[in-house]
Symmetry: C2
Subunit: 125 residues, 2 copies
DNA sequence: GCAATAATTTACTCATTGGTTGAATATCGT
DNA sequence: ACGATATTCAACCAATGAGTAAATTATTGC
């Protein structure tokens, strides 16, 4: 594994990571799986219990989550125990946080302008 | 518009909102559009400039962003001026923040247990 | 009124996704 | 060793997504 990557490559990697993470989070079943995993590690079978889905379907969802770096599956006997890995959320949260703050600032500025100029408050947010 | 919704319905609505927002963010083109919109409002034509895409493709992306509540399109003459609406990010950021914090706590607890020398972490809490 | 411009809509590809079933693989208990 | 259990893999299907090109709808400027 290369620790240091060239800028462009690194950027593309981060982009792809964001793709995968946001994509993984864009499914209610997957979010529910994460919720459940937040209560503690669990096997695939245990995880599929509450869903009206096939074992295989849940296994696939876990694959998506795993490829996004959000969970890890470790073989323990004939079972696979899954646990959460919050590190992968960092990029996503950073992206969201940065943008939200940035946008909020812009809107606040706009709001101030509008309020100072005309009598019509824009009602932002 | 109904201000108060029944619990289950509300929950499903939030879920769908999360679906749409995360889905919308899971595409580099759409994120780039948001980045560009963060610098100020822009027309569809202006927005599609930097991309090697059709007008129509960008229009579609904007549709996705709009349905997710992330941008608004307002007709001004024969142009549509798009601007950002960060409010829709709230749910997503809240979800992420909550889970990240929660997971971090759990992992910290696990870490402490392991460090303390207890062999079996199992069901913490 | 008419040509040019801005944007959407429609109709069509092609790839991906979420789901199924059924077979394959590996491990456990006896 | 054998049957049961846990999980994945492979093949398939229906639905969706991203993209294009071409037709359509407004609107501007002359």
């Amino acid at each position: 594994m290369n620790i240091v990557a060239e800028g462009d490559t690194l950027n593309r990697m981060v982009e792809q990571n964001l793709d995968r993470v946001f994509r993984a989070l864009a499914d209610p079943t997957r979010r529910a799986i994460l919720d459940r995993l937040a209560a503690g590690e669990a096997t695939v079978g245990h995880l599929s219990e509450p869903f009206p889905l096939t074992f295989a379907a849940v296994s696939k969802h876990l694959g998506v989550l795993e490829r996004a770096g959000l969970v890890t599956r470790e073989a323990r006997g004939r079972e696979r125990v899954c646990r959460i890995d919050p590190a992968a959320l960092d990029d996503a949260r950073a992206w969201l946080e940065f943008h939200e703050r940035f946008w909020a600032e812009r809107l606040d500025a706009l709001d101030a302008l509008v309020r100072a100029g005309s009598g019509k408050p824009g009602g932002s947010r």
